[in-house]
């Protein structure tokens, strides 16, 4: 499965593959101190809207963009749950660009966006949609809101 390989959760425990396998997964690099941080609200609404239908958001805390995710795992988890009521899983803090990029992002960043641009994650809250079969089917840049029609249509196309 493309998502769960070697991933630990924000609590330091290995993410149970069953949480992700067979589901459509929207992988999003998140940050707590970004102008786009309110996108957590839309992400949580996606989770509530599609979660029972075989979908999950997977948040990936990352501090590579202006240092906007500086907190400890406990601080990040606390922020997400108390400020935004986020119920979707978070990974450990990962690097999404550069020499130390996590293998998951090696695969994700090889996929182009709607304009045909692959490569580096541009900023916080870039989104990648993975089908239940493990295929990376769409990439949405940070400015695309979680509940944008192009995101929800793509999710609905791949729900199991």
């Amino acid at each position: 499965m493309v998502v769960a390989d070697g991933l630990s959760g924000i609590d330091g425990r290995r993410i149970d593959p069953a949480v992700l396998e067979g589901n459509a997964v929207l992988v999003v690099n998140v940050a707590s101190q970004c102008g786009l941080t309110p996108q957590y609200e839309g992400l949580e609404r996606l989770q509530e809207r599609y979660g029972a239908a075989g979908f999950t958001v997977l948040g990936v805390p990352c501090n590579q963009f202006a240092g906007q995710e500086p907190g400890t795992p406990e601080e990040i988890q606390q922020f997400c749950s108390t400020t935004y009521g986020a119920s979707f899983p978070l990974t450990e803090k990962l690097e999404v660009n550069g020499h130390h990029r996590h293998p998951l992002y090696e695969r994700l960043t090889a996929v182009p966006d709607a304009e045909g641009r692959a490569g580096e994650v541009e900023w916080n809250f870039e989104k990648f949609l993975i089908s239940p079969a493990g295929e990376i089917v769409a990439r949405f840049r940070p400015q695309v809101e979680p509940e944008d029609d192009q995101v929800t249509r793509a999710i609905e196309r791949v729900l199991p």
């Binding site: 963009f65 202006a66 906007q68 500086p70 690097e95 020499h99 990029r101 940070p142």
Partner: protein, 74 residues
């Protein structure tokens, strides 16, 4: 030669400059992107090195904190 911390115009940043982001994190600029997320009024400074990958955007007409500039002329 090394400069003491100072504020410089974003457009005057050079490759090799050591900058400090508002978060306190620092980067040594190895690449300057001419726009940021499609905004032509912004630049993005990137360190893409074996040490770290880090990105810091700035308004083109704004200031940034320069921590160090090697080979600076006094």
């Amino acid at each position: 030669m090394t400069l003491a911390p100072a504020t410089v115009k974003a457009t005057e940043v050079q490759l090799g400059d050591r900058l400090r982001a508002r978060s306190g994190a620092e980067l040594t600029v190895t690449r300057i992107d001419g726009e940021f997320m499609g905004r032509a009024n912004m630049l993005a400074f990137v360190e893409d090195s074996g040490e770290q990958w880090f990105k810091m955007p700035a308004l083109r007409d704004g200031d940034v904190e320069l921590v160090r500039r090697e080979n600076a002329v006094e």
